[in-house]
Symmetry: C2
Subunit: 304 residues, 2 copies
Amino acid sequence: MAAKMIYGEEVARGILGAIERDISELREKDVFPGLATILVDNDEPSKIGSSMIFLKKIETLFKHMNVYFESHLRPKDVSEYELIGLIHALNDDPKITGILLIYPVPDHLDFTNTGYQINKLKDVDGLNWLNNGSFVSAKDIEEMQKRNIVIPCAALGILQILNHMGITLQGENVTIVGRGWCARPIITISIASDATVTICSSKTRNLKDETQRADILFSVTGKPKLITGDMVKEGAVVIDVGINRSPEGKIVGDVDFDSVKEKASYITPVPGGIGPMTVTMLLKNLIELTKKSNQIHIDSILYS
Amino acid sequence: MAAKMIYGEEVARGILGAIERDISELREKDVFPGLATILVDNDEPSKIGSSMIFLKKIETLFKHMNVYFESHLRPKDVSEYELIGLIHALNDDPKITGILLIYPVPDHLDFTNTGYQINKLKDVDGLNWLNNGSFVSAKDIEEMQKRNIVIPCAALGILQILNHMGITLQGENVTIVGRGWCARPIITISIASDATVTICSSKTRNLKDETQRADILFSVTGKPKLITGDMVKEGAVVIDVGINRSPEGKIVGDVDFDSVKEKASYITPVPGGIGPMTVTMLLKNLIELTKKSNQIHIDSILYS
């Protein structure tokens, strides 16, 4: 059996129309969304490589949608103090309605403490602890939606893709390989969906035992070809959240595509799988936050 | 083989001495910790039963340690508005340095939204989203300690007990039965400890498969006798975080003690296991927050 491919771009296309209408409506009210990204240079070529790919995708989509976008690059020895200063300046900048600090940052910087400084109303990826705390505290996905919680972009994209494919997490054995910053929101949505969730780290004794149990397998490690065909159950859904640059310069995920596609029922390729959805969800979160802060602005004029 | 018992009271005794010294030091500076608890009545006798047990334990310890304590009981039809009003009054009350909203609350109240109103410097159980977000964002336990993060009481108690018994979570198969509010901090510390973590919900298809894999098994469901001997691996560590009142009025956990103790290597009984540690950690978190707000108070006088 060869797996069916899940192309994020296809799913994204169905959502972009609605986003476009939202943007037009905002423009009619003279409200313009604007995104600022912050990327810190990194010694490790694989890490900076995947961040650059992400940034390039953002630039392409925002140009295509005609939404304001500015990119701030900082050298690898930038201090936390400088970075927080930049975030505060962007918090105060009226043409910026969303700020994204791109993960990872070099080791001397505290990613969560820095991300916490992003104004919660400009926090497109849920880094501010108020948004993050609200997200992880929600009982289930329904509560997240009801409360208009910022769901981090990759996790939101995954929810939309699964929904589009008619795949539900409830009661399924979900294995998540990786427990770092990028994996956490995927852990949260899986628990909130009442899946049976297994989280593996680099200290997991027998990774194959854990991946073979999965009905739905997420890999979020940044290690090319970590997941091979023998590690995957026949008919499993395999979602590859890794973006890596191979030594030959090719963009690859965590999954050894050729061997896994023979076992899985569905598989997301890299590139073209989760990535395009993540970028689209970034735009979606930006638009939602722009609407929300504009509403707060109007309320404060009306009721002051 | 019969399991060794883990008595929380024994572990707590070793910690209470240090807490006592901290309290004396604060008193010498005319600083007095004070805790306010809020308990909302509940139709379900099992739920209100376990809350009343918890409250009674708090009262006993705080009287014994001579620390100020006040208890606010509210009827089951209290509105969220009234409850938030009470929290705001306690936030402003100088004799109260810590506030605990006891879980669960009746369904018409939003627990996390209400708990969020607790001032982050009085938030002894990490309900405020700033504290919660900071807790779940931490890379590992070391980072939690370095940052002086409020670790919710039950999870902090579990960390101390495991540490005391020389049991480490890293690389172990940890199964957590339950994914509700009380289970979440235990999930967080297990992931942060680099365990291989499996989380089961009421929708888990074959619970026994999941519990039998566990080197360390946590049950956090509030369902008496859910975990029976046949569900436990020979030599597993079994931590019972349930507190229930049986129909006969006895206090019992989630674990069928008699059958499980024949299989486990370590087991925490109910009562006398995790409970006493949770109450002691409540006092510890209260003292830490009292120290911190007093320091902020002094700083604001010195540097203003």
